[in-house]
Amino acid sequence: MGLFERNLPDIYLTRLADLAVNWGRASSLWPMTFGIACCAIEMMAVGAATFDMDRFGAGAFRATPRQADLMIVAGTVNAKMAHVVKRLYDQMPEPKYVMAMGACTVGGGPYWKHGYNVVKGIDKFVPVDVHVPGCPPRPEAIIEGVRFLQRKIMAKRVLAQGVETKPDFTGVSVSPGTVGILDPTVRPTSTVYRAPTALGFLAPSGGRA
């Protein structure tokens, strides 16, 4: 893009082009396989059977930062790790997005006071697009964070000049649920297993699932 980046007249055509590019970027957020601590397990759960982040196009976990769009920093970052996180961020190609997942990356979390080694919030050295609170956040919260990011991307200007519009966050809940069921009389709903169908009729689990 280079030369044209936010340099074309703000007309209907460029806006349309912006829309198309943003749609591509928002619908295809490839996260980097980069789990640090407890949150990484919930990050894996998001990609796994029940929650399946692939539905939103954000499930293609890439092992190398060169091919990733979204760095989910999932877990406590300490003094030894911070340089690695910074380097990984630098290795990603533009446009890149960062999700600070969990209390530790948001602000030090439980290690805020006595953690002599822990960085109190990764926004001290990398720019963060979405903060997802929780210790660790539930998978629903991560999906919420991804959708939040998608709306943020959709509101960006790519080619056209002008002021960026405010993201439309209607329909996004403000506080992703970080607390589970506290009332013991409420029974959590069982996961509904979808039996493999059309394409997967020969899959190993067959109709048993």
Partner: protein
């Protein structure tokens, strides 16, 4: 096998000098002088009645000086009506400052747990390494050096293990002050959390 039984066995084997019983309220341990540590551990590993083949962990503790509360006599009034300052008597020394190193051994064959303890002076925390007896001791000794600064002489590779190489200080010492910054990474808290 309890620590008391172990001590009796040791005495029978002629290895009892320099070893005493550290009778804590819950767990007892063998308390040895630091010159005898390696010899004793080797014996516990090799001799048949002990056969403590599994080294569970090595760790240390920084023991600060502990005294009984100071006694201060209240201010008095002397015969002339003047004020007499009360005197403060320092409390009795309950515990000397220093380091304690403890080795936990388990016997897979005989199903018992033994602990060996050693006290080291604050100024010269130095004890023999057992990395050549148990390969498992390698990392434990490195960690104890890293976090407490206790030197294990004879260790092949005594470097920091958990903290970065260039870290300053040993965090588990009681007088440790956390750094504000490390190699350009800010470790401070910007704004304190509101207290309820």
């Amino acid at each position: 096998m309890t620590a008391a039984e172990a001590l009796e066995q040791l005495k029978k084997a002629g290895l009892g000098d320099g070893v005493e019983l550290f009778a804590g309220p819950k767990d007892a341990a063998l308390l040895v002088t630091r010159e005898r540590v390696k010899q004793l551990l080797r014996h516990l590993r090799d001799s048949r009645p002990f056969s403590c083949d599994l080294l569970l962990m090595i760790t240390g503790t920084h023991m600060t000086e502990k005294r009984a509360p100071d006694k201060t006599t209240p201010d008095g009034v002397d015969v002339n009506g003047g004020v007499v300052k009360g005197t403060t008597v320092k409390g009795a020394l309950l515990r000397e400052a220093g380091f304690e190193v403890i080795w936990h051994l388990r016997s897979v064959a005989k199903h018992h747990l033994l602990a060996v303890k050693c006290r080291l002076p604050l100024a010269d925390p130095r004890v023999d390494s057992v990395a050549d007896l148990w390969p498992a001791a390698d990392w434990h000794e490195r960690e104890t050096w890293d976090l407490l600064g206790i030197t294990f002489t004879g260790h092949p590779n005594l470097r920091r293990i958990l903290l970065p190489e260039s870290w300053v200080g040993h965090p588990l010492r009681k007088d440790y002050v956390a750094p504000k910054e490390f190699e350009g990474i800010n470790l401070e808290v910007d704004a304190p959390w509101p207290t309820p």
